[in-house]
Symmetry: C2
DNA sequence: TGGAGGGCTAGAGTTACTCTAACTTATTTT
DNA sequence: AAAATAAGTTAGAGTAACTCTAGCCCTCCA
């Protein structure tokens, strides 16, 4: 039930550096410490990291994630606002996916061009 | 056939700042200037910007884009290497799309949770 | 007991912008 | 004609989000 820094890093894919940095920036809770001042994490902490990572991977800045986390901490009356934030992010992610698909098409086009040029090149006398 | 900084910025979506920065970093060609030292751009320049943006949007660092551009400048013998770079980026983009779809699912899940809590909340006496 | 392994903090370095200051030039507006 | 507006120029500072370094502490196992 208790995890070390290294375990949390492994389970979330974030580096210990990044985890400490997120904590310092206030987007992650302040974990308990053992007698030597070493952080002790629990299952819930890993959920928090997952959420922050999901929000970050959509490009949401840490400052806004912090806002979201603070809304979460201040209870149910912030649910409508949090809902709005989630919907906004959802739309952004859909846009990003659309944009990446366009990029993929562009890359495929460039690959086709390169292949055409390559075969022409190899046909030279 | 000739464009100003502002027009290039509008047509590519990159800010003039960013365009000058890219030029300084060597990922864009050095454009001609008019008598007042003002940059004059052409159609081909816009293609270059598009390509850089497509590569950047896949997360390719400017340093590697610069390498690609230099390979391009040094002619046909670099085609196989450029082809490899494109394939690598294509795979990365596919990965990114897959990851974003997962994030989208997570967001939908969180939205469903929030909606459930919200309706529960509104049912309170 | 000593060395590997992990953790801690403070702070420097990196990437890719992004903005500011201070200035010139060109075009409108009064 | 003078003034305001808009666009351009450079050099360089600032920012976000890591990412790494230095220097130290603690513990565990051979």
């Amino acid at each position: 039930m208790a995890y070390t820094m290294k375990e949390v890093a492994e389970r979330t894919g974030a580096s210990p550096h990044t985890l400490r940095f997120y904590e310092k920036e206030g987007v992650l809770p302040i974990p308990d410490r053992d007698a030597n001042g070493v952080r002790i994490f629990n299952e819930h902490y890993i959920d928090c990291v997952d959420t922050v990572q999901a929000l970050r991977s959509t490009g949401l800045p840490l400052a806004e994630i912090k806002q979201y986390v603070e809304l979460y901490k201040s209870g149910e009356q912030t649910l409508p606002l949090r809902r709005t934030m989630l919907v906004v992010q959802k739309n952004k992610v859909e846009d990003q996916i659309a944009r990446l698909i366009k990029t993929l098409e562009k890359l495929n086009y460039k690959l086709a061009l390169v292949d055409a040029q390559e075969s022409q090149f190899s046909k030279l006398p």
